[in-house]
Amino acid sequence: MAATTVPDKTTRRHAGRAAGPRTQGGRGGLSRKLSQNLQAYGFLIGAILCFGFFSWYPMVREFIMSFQQTRRGVTSWVGFKNIKTVYHDPYFWTAWKNTGMFTLYALVIGFVVPFFVAILLNELRHARAYLRILVYLPVMLPPVAGALLFKYFYNPEYGLFNRILKIFHLPTSQWLDSSHTALISVVVAATWMSMGSATLIYLAALQNIPGELYEAADLDGAGLWSKIWHVTVPQTRLVLSLMLLLQIVATMQEFTNVFLMAGGNGPENSTMTVVYMVYQYGYRYNNFGGAAALGLFLLLVLAGFSGLYARLNRNAD
């Protein structure tokens, strides 16, 4: 390849740095570097400003706020008081339990179902494009509209689901109005609304698997499950693990659906999630320090998951 004889800009830059970056130091070196990369910095500046203002600055503020308290317009440092307060909140563990359960249900339903729907779509020979659109349609529905639609479906008196059950003389359910079924009802609705995106991503990954691998598996006498387990899953491992992480990150921050469908805390606090509790602290209790402290707890847990993800991938590499 030509790259071995005609170094491109990148390799030239690296070569120069290797030869003695310190000799290039100082104002002259810096300005030369800046002028060399001016175009790249120009492209970057918008993204950096956006991230700076809308992501990183709020994060820094949030970290600071978690150690502050504002009373009568006076903001003061309170050390770990906010963290202790939220930790000793009687609903702290309830919220974590619900969040954990929500994530678990969402993984069982929202992670596995789209994967198998994608496999099914991939195997179809006819009407695949139409079905793809059908599967993706709920994603196009505004989340608020979807949540309110399901709230109506779940109504124990006149909702669609109980009407269908009654037609077949099956026992009806309280759905969102029972502490036993509220959380899972929200998960089902949330999965329906979001599975289209995951399905399409899985489908794209499946279509990149070379057909020869399945042919070889067929020749070896592999059955359907064997092919899925030994060919499909390993070939889509990277996508699966990334989707798993994204799913955990997204579901652990569940707020919209529980807020709209179950009034936030739900029957006997059965749908109170950590992020709903953050909302309660901020917008109901007017305790933004407490809300920020809860956000820190959530960050630590999610950072733990991401660390685990990175470790698993490093091992896999």
């Binding site: 991230f51 706020m65 029972s178 509220a182 029957p267 917008y283 809300a291 990175a310 590499d317």
Partner: protein, 468 residues
């Protein structure tokens, strides 16, 4: 950077970016000075000089969909200008006047108007955000001529440490709204609404038995969004109970009255089936159901009546108002205007002059009943009731003269004169706890009320001890 490190960094950044921002909605630095507003001006107690040129922004202007109210607002500004030609009022139309989430965000961002609308129960929140000016020095019988007749209990809700921060515009106390037509159709006497929880249960069952086949339920109760807790507090006040001890350090709701009320609600829901099956009801749903003639009764404030007529197609003749069951004390609420801490003394004076003209002067502004009658705005609803003495007598006479709604429908509520009581300290936290109790009763047929109350008591004590 190696691929692995890069991937790890991306993963952590992704999580951090999404995770932390959920709690970082507020970013405003609070002012560290706690000095008063410029209230110490020597001329603070004098009315605004009509020659003073000043501009104020004021929210809660009625929206375009409320044509008569909006027209009256604009007409009142024009009339106000006759006295104060140099005051410019920039009105912001908002409906509802206060969205609690938006209001919180505005306070955090100091983006409220110079004179801003609020619920009277928001005082602590507004003060903690450092957004309200101390108007004590500005308010006297020269700037607010009817001041001596405003109920001191109402003004007390707007005071902190002896300092006044707001002026009331309306107030209410909780009671029982009921559908007189449904009562009549069910064979009940609409002039004898229930006054105890036992009577509510009896009437609710009659309504269900007679009209249940038409999809009509006897009673309605909230069980989500802290509103179940709010209603349980109202019910306990009606029974003469407190929800916290006098010093505000201990929960005081766990007692025979609470057990009895909750048992009645449970039995209405699960034994008599005279309540809707859905437990997760919130504010707005009861008004909609009552407006559509689907429920017989629910706990509410009188302002719900106007809302149900204007927004949900109810008829004034069909709606009645009775005192809160038990009738010992009633939870009071209402609305007011605060003055932004950064207002100049002249802005505060101009704001007080406007609020006084629009909301606190008999026969003017909201009390111009003759105009309300002409414009089709209901006259005769049992609120506001913050005037005492001569002002009250004049107001009652005017209201009776120009009444456009059937005032006899609210007679039992008005005659009862139930003493009012403000919200408990840490109200929203207590409502969250009591919500659990209410939703437990409404969603679980086998609910153990004693256990629900004990558990809630422990949780409330934890919250109160934390002194958040």
């Amino acid at each position: 950077m190696s691929r692995i490190r890069y991937r790890r960094l991306v993963a952590v950044a992704l999580v951090a970016g999404i995770g932390l921002t959920s709690a970082a909605c507020s970013s405003s630095d609070k002012k560290d000075d706690n000095g008063g507003s410029k209230a110490s001006s020597s001329s603070a107690g004098t009315p605004l000089d009509p020659k003073t040129k000043v501009t104020i922004s004021v929210d809660c202007m009625p929206p375009t969909t409320k044509k008569p109210e909006r027209k009256q607002w604009l007409d009142d500004i024009a009339e106000f200008h006759k006295t104060y030609p140099n005051v410019t009022i920039n009105s912001k139309d908002t409906f509802p006047c206060e969205d609690t989430d938006k209001f919180t965000a505005q306070l955090q961002g100091s983006s409220e108007t110079d004179v801003f609308y609020s619920y009277v129960t928001d005082l602590n929140q507004v003060l903690d955000a450092g957004q309200a000016a101390d108007i004590t020095a500005y308010v006297n019988d020269k700037t607010v001529p009817n001041l001596k007749d405003i109920d001191p209990n109402v003004l007390a809700i707007l005071k902190d440490d002896g300092k006044l921060y707001g002026l009331p515009t309306t107030n209410y106390s909780m009671g029982l709204v009921y559908n007189r037509k449904i009562f009549k159709d069910a064979g009940l006497d609409p002039d004898k609404p229930p006054t105890t929880w036992d009577e509510i249960r009896t009437d609710s069952k009659v309504i269900q038995d007679k009209l249940g086949s038409k999809g009509i339920h006897g009673f309605f109760e909230y069980g989500a969004g802290n509103q179940g807790g709010w209603h349980l507090t109202s019910a306990l006040y009606g029974a003469g109970n407190n929800v916290v001890s006098e010093d505000g350090t201990k929960a005081a709701f766990n007692g025979p009255e609470a057990t009895s009320i909750l048992q009645t609600i449970h039995d209405m829901r699960w034994v008599d089936n005279s309540m809707p099956a859905s437990a997760g009801k919130e504010w707005g749903e009861s008004q909609k159901a009552m407006g559509a003639g689907q429920i017989g009764m629910y706990l509410a404030a009188p302002d719900d009546i106007q809302l149900m007529v204007q927004q949900y197609g109810a008829n004034f003749n069909d709606l009645g108002m009775a005192p809160i069951p038990g009738g010992k004390t009633s939870l009071m609420g209402g609305n007011d205007y605060f003055f932004k801490k950064s207002d100049s003394p002249d802005q505060i004076k101009a704001g007080i002059a406007w609020i006084n003209f629009k909301f606190l002067t008999l026969k003017k502004g909201q009390f111009n009943y003759a105009r309300n009658k002409t414009d089709g705005i209901p006259v005769g609803l049992p609120q506001p009731f913050f005037f005492t003495g001569q002002s009250k007598a004049t107001d009652t006479a005017d209201k009776t003269q120009y009444a456009t709604v059937p005032v006899q429908n609210y007679k039992s509520y008005v005659d009862a004169q139930v003493p009012v009581k403000g919200e408990p300290p840490n109200a929203q936290k207590l409502y969250t706890v009591l919500d659990t109790v209410m939703s437990g009763v409404l969603s679980n047929k086998g609910a153990d009320i004693g256990k629900l109350l004990s558990s809630a008591e422990t949780q409330a004590n934890q919250l109160l001890a934390a002194g958040q």
